[in-house]
Amino acid sequence: MASGVKPRVKAPKKAAAGEIVTIKTLISHKMESGQRKNKDGSPIPRSIINRFTCDFNGKNVIDIEMAPAISTNPYFQFDAMIPEAGDMVFTWHDDDGDVYSTTKSIAIG
């Protein structure tokens, strides 16, 4: 993981089979839009997270294409259906090629 980029995810530790749960995700990232300029007037190049995905046991929950208009420290809230116990994998794709990832295990109960 590139330095300083830290995800923070709210996912339940367990759910009933078939339950719909709300997921909240945050990640620290500047989301440099490409619109700002240096003191000498030269543009600061764009450098953002351009895509976020959430998958559960290999099946996709949501896949978000992100543009520079997403605020610094991107936040997403969405719902997922939990059919069985498993791992929820979150990935954030950086313009520079880095992929940040975190996993939350969800049990059925």
């Binding site: 719909i20 749960v21 709300t22 839009s33 619109q35 959430c54 998958d55 559960f56 099946k59 996709n60 929950v61 949501i62 896949d63 978000i64 294409e65 992100m66 543009a67 520079p68 208009a69 997403i70 605020s71 610094t72 991107p74 936040y75 997403f76 809230q77 969405f78 719902d79 997922a80 259906m81 939990i82 059919p83």
Partner: protein
């Protein structure tokens, strides 16, 4: 120069007008819409876009979209230098077709949300968000 009450009030009203940034709209938004819809007609209804009427700060504006039965929802900011904000593509384990995020607004403008429904049709909603200038930078 001493200010009469009349002068002060006139100045005050001028300042009020100046606190709301002017409305912005660019053609690039239309192109982005066409890229998403392929030029198809967009209906109204079946999609909700929730955005504040007045943004506390244009840097971080919370918004949410909801369109039951949608395959994907695109959000555009028609007055930003580049209009795209995000495209939410719902997968097979999506629990709903709702999503929330926080976005940047360069100035007062319309935020537009368009949903592509499962049957290939499109519906649209939009919301005018006022962006203001605060008094204390700090």
């Amino acid at each position: 120069m001493e200010f009469s009450r009349r002068d002060t009030l006139v100045l005050g009203l001028g300042a009020a007008v100046a606190t709301v940034l002017p409305f912005r709209a660019f053609a690039a938004a239309d192109e982005a819409i066409a890229a998403f819809t392929g030029g198809a007609e967009m209906g109204a209804g079946g999609i909700t876009l929730t955005a504040p009427e007045i943004a506390e700060n244009g840097n971080t504006v919370p918004i949410s979209v909801s369109a039951a039965g949608a395959a994907s929802i695109i959000v555009l900011a028609s007055g930003n230098p580049t209009p795209e904000v995000a495209t939410f593509n719902f997968g097979e384990l999506a629990g709903s077709q709702d999503a929330a995020t926080r976005m940047r607004l360069a100035g007062t403008q319309d935020v537009i949300a368009i949903a592509k429904m499962a049957d290939g049709s499109f519906v649209k909603a939009s919301s005018t968000v006022k962006v203001t200038i605060g008094g204390c930078g700090g």
